[in-house]
Symmetry: C2
Subunit: 328 residues, 2 copies
């Protein structure tokens, strides 16, 4: 993992000044005079993650020749919204480890995780209202709504083994890809105008986010907790039927289908993902999901190559490779 | 309770057109094409409550001679933020009954309550970004941040028996009064300018909200679940040491203090609020809190009477009476 992290930092070089400003803004925003709040924000600062979404705002700006003084703030806002979804996701997923730092809802309780997420959303929106253009507030409040709808739909579709691939992608897209799309669109468009390049970059972000999510789904089935730096197998545990399993289920005979349903639902199973791997041949489903992710990433490359050559464009190509290298 | 409700509706008469438009906007905003989301928003529509905050936007607008076509939308946004806090509060409080309709987190689970609250916040901010002025987005995102900080502080101060009355009011104010203050300020100021009347109405809203909260704290100690239409005694259950108890504790001898701490913390107690009432003389604390609420409401009346006479001004006076009548 250290290897890929170094690579990402190298990819972020064309926007490293902007990212440094983004981090300063983030620090400033998370500093809150209330000691109880500071305790929590100090803690989440430690699992700051890849900051890929923030970097995409800046890279898409640079690659589209559309960088303003406010892009760093836009990137910080996108990152805060992402942090808020992570904090609330920990309540959702019951994930036990996130980036090897105990998650907020284990150190404190659910109540506090809800409030910290709300605080991060509020901070993000408050900062967006101080920018010269309203585009950021508009696009990101709409995106946050989509995100929530995607999460709610996903929750409603738990243990739903007959979901079509299209429906799966619509939900996973709303949940994950919509924030990538907004990040890329804001980079290319902020403070306004530039509809056409904005739409192109939004489509790039969507495909990037969706392929990222599909790779995540694959890794949750095939990876180990140690490799991932977060709990593996939580999708099966939580009743989330992801693309590889949906594909296997669709093609399976009734006996295999019953076995799959049992692994997800029968009480008292310790390691559901492990049992699923041992009792069902997931290979065709994993291959199908991988092919879909590769197709989306090819689309991403095509869109990136339509931009004029620049160091930022080369970095966007590198981001695509990074997603591939995670395991595809 | 029916009596006071009729009275409130009568008080809202000067702004009933605006309230009808506010409700139409709210319905439209909660309508979402996702069936899973609609299921939930249909449900919360049933516990719509008094809509007092929305009415305050409109009444303060009318009473200040500052009503615009957009005031109904501003009122709907305030109400959505209030709904979001209620939904997330149900996770916080473990309250079992809210307005005699099962709360969201009992019909669904915590996950979904978190997401529904997030959805309501996002909807509210998205709507605010469509208004002609940014004042509403700015004031309400700032207010939401304050709200969260207040809730986090309150959570951090559980079982804190030596909180000063000032500190208690600062936290209760941030948690509750800040949204009342924003509602009243927006009514008087939206779309902008009018700083002085805005500051006056913000102060009115703050005192109104704080006295409302103090009355709530009193009723949680003295009322029954049936009278309140929501679970009584949850403050003691949740370790929230409210103004009446803080006052009694501050004046008590060490034996009584130990008894109070025991009632809050000893394991296995069924009805902590009941036990507290039976074993500790709360009367001086209740009288102190009541006097404080009455003082705040007197300040409210003074501020209201500085406005020119109008039906809306008379209704604001009626709102003050409504808070008194709840039990003071």
């Amino acid at each position: 993992m250290t290897g890929t992290h170094t690579t990402l930092n190298e990819l972020f070089e064309p926007v490293e000044d902007g990212l440094a400003r983004m981090r300063a803004i983030l620090r400033e925003q998370l500093a809150e005079s209330s000691p109880a709040v500071r305790d929590m924000t100090d803690h989440i600062a430690r699992f700051r993650g890849k900051q890929l979404r923030a970097a995409l705002v800046l890279l898409c700006g640079e690659a589209s020749g559309n960088t303003t003084d406010e892009h760093a703030a836009v990137a910080a806002i996108v990152e805060m919204i992402h942090l808020a979804t992570l904090v609330h996701d920990d309540i959702l997923d019951g994930a036990a480890v996130r980036r090897r730092v105990a998650c907020v809802n284990e150190r404190w309780d659910n109540q506090v995780a809800v409030l910290l997420g709300d605080f991060l959303y509020a901070r993000a929106f408050a900062l967006s209202t101080t920018l010269s253009s309203r585009l950021c507030s508009r696009l990101l409040s709409e995106t946050t709504r989509k995100l929530c709808v995607g999460e709610i739909e996903q929750s409603a579709q738990r243990f739903e083994f007959e979901l079509s691939a299209e429906r799966y992608e619509a939900i996973a897209g709303a949940k994950t890809a919509s924030l990538y799309a907004a990040a890329c669109e804001l980079g290319a468009r902020y403070p306004g105008g530039n509809e056409e390049p904005g739409a192109q970059m939004a489509a790039l972000g969507w495909d990037l986010g969706l392929s990222f999510q599909i790779v995540d789904d694959i890794l949750d089935l095939t990876g180990t907790t140690q490799e991932l730096g977060k709990t593996a197998g939580t999708d099966v545990e939580d009743g989330k039927v992801t693309l590889p399993v949906l594909h296997v289920y669709a093609l399976a005979d009734e006996g295999t289908r019953a076995r799959i349903r049992d692994v997800y639902t029968a009480p008292g199973i310790e390691d559901r993902a492990g049992l699923l791997r041992r009792t069902v041949d997931l290979a065709p489903g994993l291959a199908f999901a991988e092919a879909r992710a590769r197709h989306l990433l090819k689309e991403c490359r095509r869109r990136i190559l339509s931009l004029s050559p620049s160091p930022a464009r080369a970095s966007l190509e590198g981001v695509v490779e990074f997603i591939v290298e995670r395991r595809l």
